[in-house]
Structure formats: C-alpha cells, structure tokens
C-alpha cells in the first residue's frame, strides 16, 4: 500500500546532519527526546490516535452491512441451529405432568401412578381448550407412532372425567351451574382482600403454552380468603378467567367455569379442605357440598384415562413423554443419523426406518461424481482457453459464460426437455436408428439425470477458477522441458499439470460445496433415486412439518459445508474468489 506514512513503526526521527535540520528538530523534540507533532503532543500518541480514527472510520463504514447480514442472515442460521435441539413443547404443554414424571421409574411395567394422571388431567384440559394438544401429539408422534391420535382422541373426551361427581354436585345445588355464583365465590365478595398471585402463575403457564400475550385487565381478582382454603380451584378458575377474556374474548362473570374447575373443587373438598374459618360468599354451599361429597367415590384419574383409551396404560407411551420432556434434546440429531433414544441411551432405528445415512452417503457420492466429471470436462476446456490467442479465447469464453449467466431454472428445464423419454436426445437417437422406438432410454428421474444436469450447471464454476490459474502459467516452462528432451506427455504431466493443481483444487471445492446443498435440480430431474439430503430437508419443512428434524439435518449439512469452506479459505483464500 502506498499509504505508509501513518504507520508508527516506519517513522524515524529526522537525521541531524544538516544544522538547519538540527535546529528544526530541536523544536519538535521534548525534554525526554520524544518527537512532538505540530500541536505539541508526542508524535507517537498523535499517530496512534490517527490510526484509531482510521480504524473507527473503516468500522463505521462496515457496521451497517455487518448488522444487516447478522440480522437477516446469521440470526436465522443460529435460530435454525437452536431449533435442532429445542424441545420446549412438551414442558410447555404439560408442565405439571413433566414435573411429576421426573420421579417415575420407567423401567417398571405399566403406566405411572395416580398423581401423574391427576396432573396430566389438568394439563391436558387447558391444552385441549387452547387446542395445543394436537401439536404436542404430532410432535411426539415423530418418536412414537400412535401418540398423535391418542392425544387428539383424549382431547375430545377429557371433559368427561369426573362426570359422576360433577353431576352429583350440580344436583345438590343448582348454584354450582350458575356463573354469577362462581364469580362471587372466587372474588370473595365486595370487601375481600384480593390477591393476584394465582393469576400471575396461570398467565405465565398460558403464555408458554400458546405463545400468545395474556397480559391486560382480566376483570377478575381472586379473593385471598378463598385462595387460602381452595388454592387449586382458584388456580383453575384463574386459568379459565384468563382464557375466557383473552382467547375467547368473553366476560368472566358471564361464563360457566370449565369442568376442570369443578373437578379441582371436588378434589379439594374430598381431600378435607378446612372450611371452618371461611365465612365469605358461598360458605353455606361449600359446607353442604363437602358433606355430600364425603359419600361419593374419589375421582380416579388413571382409570378414567385408561377407560378413555387403553393406550394410556402403555408403558412405552409414557416413557416417550418422559424421554422427551427436557427442554433440550439430542433426539433430532439422533433421528438424523438413523438412531433413536431408547431406555439405555441411543440405539439404532428399525431397519425399515433407516434413510438418512443412506441419503447423506448418496449426497456425498453424487457430489463427488459431479465434481469428478466437472474436472474431466473442465480441464481440457480451461487448458484450451488459456493456450489460445486472446481473441479466440474471449470468443470461446462466451460459450462458458452464457450458461453461467443463464437462469438455473432455464438450464434445468432445458435438461428436462433434452432428457425425457419423449425428449430431444431420445428423438435424435430414434431418428438415427440407434435406439428402438419402444426401447427409449430412461435418462431422467434417476441419478443419471441429476448427474448430467448438475455437471452441466456447475461446469462453469469449475472452468473459471481453472482458467484463471492456468492463464498465469508461463508457456516457457513447458517449452524448456520439451527442449530438454521431455516427451509431450512428460512435459505436461511433470511440468504443466503440477502448476495447474491449485486451479483444480479451487474449482473442485467450489463445485463440491455448491453440489452438496443443491435442491432445485435434483427435485426436478432426480425422481426418487436422484434426490439429495436437501430435498429431504425441504420435505420436512413444508410437508411433514417436522421442523426440528429438518433443522438437525440442515445443521449436519452446514457443518460439512463449513469444513469445506474453511479448507477453501486455507487453500485459496476468500479474498481470491473471482466472478466472471
């Protein structure tokens, strides 16, 4: 660089040969012999400041773009990496169940105990109200088939749990069906001390469950007296209130509470809630209900669920829920390499479900074949172009650049036109009589089609770097070798070829990086046997909606590409990428 004056290392004190210089230098030197700049600060410091200003200016120019790329591109990639391990849906949808399941020993036969089912009831009830249980079902269905329909079916019939006791309660006093009575009971009347705690707890849970915003005025505050006596009922009512106001957009006091609220009340009364000190609204009714419920059987959650669907008694289903309850999981990655989480850690999937290792291998293999055929086809062309006179080479270069500039979709459709059974190549072969009309070659929707089309599409990316390396090789070297008696082959192989290797390396890595992540061309000409891992990723994003698995597959692919990118940077340098 020409701009060397600002570098402090190269600045010397002026030579003091000339007396005039000496006098001048004396003005610019302080008492310790340090150079001073015009404004009196030591030269070193003022140069350092100038350097700092330059650095800042450069960074200020780069900053907008850097922020732009970080937000629009890097953040999505990081988000995808996060999604490949993220698994909050289970603990968000079934928070209480997950907590109680953590103590359950999955190696025992059968389902977990009553307590787990009880928590599961309350979780599932809210989830079913918010229609989130089907999402959880489809998530867990990736791991254990049948869970999706199990959740969907149970979501419909979860209202029926404890029906008998609720009927008994409502038969005892019609007030239990009256929304105004419930509202008064829960708020604790006019002069009660309200507490916001149950609302806050439920708000947090609902927000995690649905991802929506539940903050704002509910029009309901639980009374502190009733909260002390019947905490669970108040909590359920608070959840009901929040959901009614924000999801259904109704008024709390005008809606009859959920069955879950009544079930909680029945449970708490049967468990012997101490009503002796309670004198708020509805105290009479509560005492009467407690007396009546003493004769009723307890609500059996486990039996109710198993009656709903006997699969709830299956050990495997509960084990799946337990295995996938942590907020982070390596399950998607295991799935991406044809493994699954078993009882004792990772285990291979059943043979008939193994597909991803094969797809990765195929992607690698086909990328290598494409890369190899690009080298084979690209090398002679690059050699020819770099050894022809400039004018001819430029003309021929157009033949390379035109495909490079032509839309990818155009080239892919061109290959579809060429390769299909009623296509141009087959027609020409039939017309020439080389192929029978009924024996037309199958060249599309298989690996052959993908390889031919992608070789054609990526060939310019191989030729251009090769050409730029080969055009720097001096022709005199080969001539010298020839004049020293080397045969044409030896001169090429021992002298020319080693000098062209960097071009091959640059081109191959570029082509390989591009090939390994290709999506469009394999999708159109690849059929079923010629598709790549990227087609599977696209399938999981748009069709099967298994985003976690798509993210895990993408992460593995990205890691492979980044390793290659790093190699490319080491061999070629990113700064040396040239276009056109």
């Amino acid at each position: 660089m020409s701009d060397g004056t600002t570098d402090p290392k190269t600045v010397d004190a002026p030579k003091a040969d000339d007396p005039r210089d000496q006098a001048k230098a004396a003005d610019n030197v302080d008492k310790d012999g340090r150079m001073l700049s015009a404004d009196g600060t030591p030269l070193k410091r003022s140069l350092a400041r100038a350097l700092r200003v330059q650095k800042m200016r450069a960074l200020m120019l780069i900053a907008p773009l850097l922020i732009f790329v970080l937000v629009t591109f890097i953040a999505p990639i990081v988000d995808m990496l996060f999604r490949s391990v993220e698994n909050q849906i289970v603990s968000n949808t079934l928070p209480r169940t997950v907590a109680s399941l953590s103590d359950w020993d999955a190696s025992q036969d059968g389902a977990p105990g009553e307590e787990v089912f009880e928590n599961f009831y309350y979780d599932l009830f809210i989830a079913a109200e918010a229609k989130e249980h089907t999402r959880l079902g489809s998530r867990l269905n990736y791991e254990q088939t049948g869970l999706s329909s199990l959740f969907r079916g149970s979501g419909r019939s979860v209202d029926d749990v404890g029906e008998e006791q609720i009927d008994a309660l409502e038969d005892l006093n019609e007030a239990w069906e009256d929304e105004a009575f419930w509202y008064e009971l829960m708020t604790g009347g006019e002069n009660s001390a309200p507490t916001a705690e149950p609302l806050d707890i439920q708000r947090g849970m609902l927000e995690r469950l649905t991802g929506d915003n539940f903050s704002g005025d509910v029009g309901f505050l639980p009374g502190s007296a009733i909260t002390r006596v019947l905490p669970r009922t108040v909590n359920q009512y608070a959840a009901f209130a929040l959901f009614t106001v924000f999801a259904d957009e109704d008024v709390v006091a005008e809606e009859e509470p959920w069955e879950a609220v009544k079930v909680a009340l029945i449970q708490e009364l049967q468990a012997g809630a101490d009503l002796s000190e309670y004198d708020g609204p509805g105290a009479e009714e509560l005492r009467a209900a407690q007396e009546m419920l003493a004769d009723q059987p307890q609500i059996a959650f486990k039996d109710a669920f198993i009656e709903m669907d006997e699969d709830w008694g299956e050990n495997a289903n509960w084990r799946t829920i337990q295995t996938y309850s942590p907020e982070l999981t390596e399950g998607y990655f295991l799935n991406a390499i044809d493994m699954q989480k078993g009882i004792d850690g990772a285990e291979p999937r059943p043979e008939n479900q193994q597909i991803y290792i094969m797809l990765f291998q195929r992607t690698l293999f086909m990328s290598l074949v494409i890369c190899g055929s690009c080298i084979l086809l690209g090398y002679p062309v690059a050699y020819l172009l770099s050894n022809l006179p400039m004018r001819t080479a430029n003309l021929l270069m157009i033949l390379v650049l035109l495909p490079f500039w032509t839309s990818l979709l155009v080239r892919t459709s061109a290959w579809k036109v060429m390769l299909q059974q009623q296509g141009v190549i087959n027609d020409v072969l039939v017309w020439l009589g080389l192929v029978d009309d009924f024996g037309r070659l199958v060249m599309i929707n298989n690996q052959f089609g993908t390889i031919v089309a992608m070789t054609h599409i990526l060939l310019p990316f191989m030729i251009l770097p090769m050409y730029s390396v080969m055009s720097t090789i001096p022709p005199s070297y080969v001539r010298a070798a020839r004049s020293l008696g080397a045969t044409q082959w030896t001169a090429f192989w021992r002298v020319y070829f080693p000098q062209s290797v960097p071009g091959i390396g640059a081109g191959s890595i570029l082509v390989f990086i591009l090939a390994i992540g290709y999506y469009i061309t394999p999708e159109i000409v690849g059929g079923t046997t010629g598709t790549f891992i990227s087609n599977r990723i696209a399938y999981h994003i748009s069709s099967s909606l298994n985003w976690g698995l798509a993210a895990a597959l993408g992460t593995i692919l990205l890691a492979a590409v980044l390793i290659l990118y790093w190699a490319y940077d080491r061999i070629v340098g990113i700064d040396n990428v040239k276009l056109g």
């Binding site: 890097i74 953040a75 650049l401 035109l402 839309s407 979709l409 020439l432 990723i537």
Partner: protein
C-alpha cells in the same frame, strides 16, 4: 518487421487422403445407415462415396476447380438428403456437404498443418486435433441445452420436443402461442410483476450497504478483517436450502414470513457477497492519492466520495449490482420458503410448471430469460473491460 515462418503445407498423396476421408465418410455412414436400417451398408456406402469424391477432387480435377466442386457437393448431398429424409434431410445433407467439401480439401491439400509447428510428428498432429474435437464436444455439451430451448419455444403443439412439422420447416408447426400465453396469463404476469418488484429493491439494498462496506474493508487498518469477510461472504457459501430453512423459521417468528419485505431482505442478504467481491476487487486498483488530493483541495468526504471515488469504482459497483440483481431475479429456493403465494416470482412459477409439467410456456419464458442474460453478460463484460482500461490494467 517481416516474419518468416516455416510452413509445412503441401498437397498430400492420394494414398493418404483417400483412406482418411473414406474413414470419415464411413463414420457418417453409421448414422445414415442406422436410420435407414442397415449399419453395415451405411458404412460401406459412406466409405466408397467419400473415397470416389476425394479421388475426383484431389486426383482428377485441378485445384482451381475447388469452389465449383464444393458447391457441387452441397447440392449433391442436399439432394441425397431429400431422398432419405425429405425436408429435414435437405438441411442435414447440405450441412454434410459443406463439411465434407471442406474436409476433402483440408486433408487433401494438407491445410491442417497451417497453424501448427512444422516439426510436429503426425502422431502429435493427430493428438492436437483429437484434443480440439474433444473440447468442441464439451462446448457442444455446454451450449446445446440452452440453444435447443429457443426453437422449441415456438412450438405450435404443447410438446416439449420437436414435432415433424417443425422439422420440415412447415410454418404450421411454429407459433407464438406460448409467448402469447406468457403475456396474457394472469399467473405469469403476476409472477413477472413480483420479480420486477422484488429484485431491484433487493439489489438497491445490497449495493448501497455493500459498497459502503467494501470501501471500509479496503482501507488498510481494519480490525478482524478476516472474520468480517467470512461473515459477509457466508450467504454465498451456505447452501441455499439451509439459508431458506433458517430464514423461514426466523422470519416466521418476526412475522416477516410471507411478506414482501421478508423476501426483499432475504434476497438482499443473498446478493451482498457478490457486491462485496466485485467492489473490493475494483478497489484493489484504486489510487488512494486521488482521495487525498481531493481532500487537500478542500472537498469534504461526501463530495470526495461522490465526485472522485464513485465515478472510478462505478463499473465495479454496477457489475456487482447486476450480480445481485440476477441472484434475486433467478432465486427460487429462498422465495419458495420465505414468500407466500402473494410473492410468487418468475422462477417460482417456472418451478411449479416444471414439477407439474403443465405447459411449454416455460420454454418461452426460458427464451426470454436467456435473451436477458445475454444482454447482462454483454453489459458486465463491457463494464469489466472499461474498468480495467480506466485503471490502466490492460491496454486494449
């Protein structure tokens, strides 16, 4: 200064030229014979015919008869073609006639030696031309698919291949109906309009941010230069499907998925590496003393940028912008995920058409796009040369 080069062009003996041309004739005979039913008859007929013609041209007729003889061959072969394959046969026959007429004299008069070093052995000459033929075949492979699409787009039928009417040059076989379809179908027009609405805005974003950053990157004291460069280039390196997946997830969190601005931002990010690469390459040759001179004469940094630096790096900026434009205009994977039906672009519409194979309108669109890319290619090439000339890198 006059140069004297030793030429090795002389008339070849008949014992050389007759067998060589006969062998070439036999090769062509394979195809003609196969088309007519018997490969062996074709080979034999081709060899005998070419041997006779070569003997006639090189052994009997004088050299001044070259022109009439070659025309005669064109007519003869065209007539032969008509006998075998009617109108398409005439064209193929005429091409054969031109080629073999040239070939007989090229071999027979030893003209193939004209541009070669005189001391090459016959084997080396053969190797040289074999290499040329192989390269020719590779160029053929590169260009044919693109060229084949063009005439097919004028097909009167809804086929993806040449119909007999097209091959016999019957005007009935050609029509502009696929172009009419493209210009009248609301789907295609909407897609075209979307592409035109998205690509320039994305280009503008990436060019303005990218040029600033490239100028910043080209100053010599940039901390973390490598890391910054790696981040800025990464949209080009990361496979599109991964970018698409990540953007799909992230933009749906932000509510940008399925919106116009979501697609524009995504495309701008994808175009940035191209701008960075071309503009930094232009700045390598930029003479920094010019900006210092401008500052010396009292210009503030903004004036210096627009009056001194910008005009000089403009070719690089424009060709970077063209790259960014074509990236956005040609992009399908990301828009497929980040966009919704309202942002359906031209490549997306083509992708749908190809997957479901509905109509050859795709070929008409393809032809239009190839024409556009030829224009862009010419522009970029022109700009590159101009930029090199301005920086004094090449004399031409």
């Amino acid at each position: 200064m006059a140069t004297y080069t030793l030429k090795y062009v002389e008339k070849k003996p008949l014992s050389f030229s007759v067998p060589v041309v006969a062998a070439a004739g036999a090769f062509a005979g394979i195809f003609v014979g196969a088309a007519q039913g018997s490969i062996w008859q074709g080979i034999l007929a081709g060899a005998v015919l070419m041997a006779i013609l070569t003997f006639l041209a090189q052994g009997v007729l004088s050299e001044s008869m070259e022109k009439p003889f070659r025309w005669g061959m064109v007519v003869l072969f065209a007539a032969g073609g008509y006998v075998f394959g009617e109108i398409p046969g005439i064209v193929v026959g005429a091409i054969f006639g031109v080629f073999y007429g040239w070939f007989i004299y090229w071999i027979g008069q030893g003209r193939y030696r004209e541009k070669l070093l005189p001391y090459l052995t016959p084997g080396q000459v053969l190797g040289h031309f074999a290499f040329r033929v192989i390269c020719g075949m590779i160029f053929f492979f590169l260009i044919t698919p693109i060229v084949v699409v063009m005439p097919l787009s004028f097909n009167a039928e809804d086929f993806f291949t040449f119909t007999p009417e097209m091959l016999s040059f019957d005007p009935e076989g050609y029509s502009l109906k696929h172009y009419r379809d493209f210009f009248t179908s609301p789907d295609w027009q909407q897609a075209l309009w979307n592409s035109v609405a998205i690509a320039p805005v994305a280009t503008l974003l990436s060019v303005s941010f990218g040029t600033l950053a490239a100028i910043g990157l080209s100053s010599e004291h940039v901390p973390f230069r490598r890391a910054i460069m790696a981040i800025l280039i990464s949209p080009m390196i990361v496979p599109l499907i991964i970018s698409a997946a990540g953007m799909y997830f992230f933009y749906s969190r932000l509510g940008l998925q399925g919106t116009y601005w979501g697609v524009v931002l995504a495309h701008a990010a994808l175009g940035i590496p191209f701008v960075i690469i071309t503009v930094t390459a232009t700045l390598v040759g930029f003479d920094r003393s010019l900006t210092r001179a401008a500052a010396n004469m009292g210009a503030d940094p903004v004036t210096t940028f627009f009056r001194v630096q910008m005009p000089l790096i403009l070719p690089g900026v424009i060709s970077g912008g063209l790259f960014a434009f074509i990236t956005s205009f040609d992009e399908v994977v990301v828009v497929l995920f980040v966009g919704s039906a309202g942002q359906k672009t031209l490549p997306w519409q083509m992708f749908i058409g190809l997957r479901e194979q509905i109509s050859p309108t795709i070929l008409a669109v393809a032809t239009i796009l190839v024409s556009i890319s030829i224009v862009l290619l010419t522009t970029v090439e022109f700009l590159r040369r101009r930029s090199e000339r301005m920086r004094g890198l090449s004399p031409g």
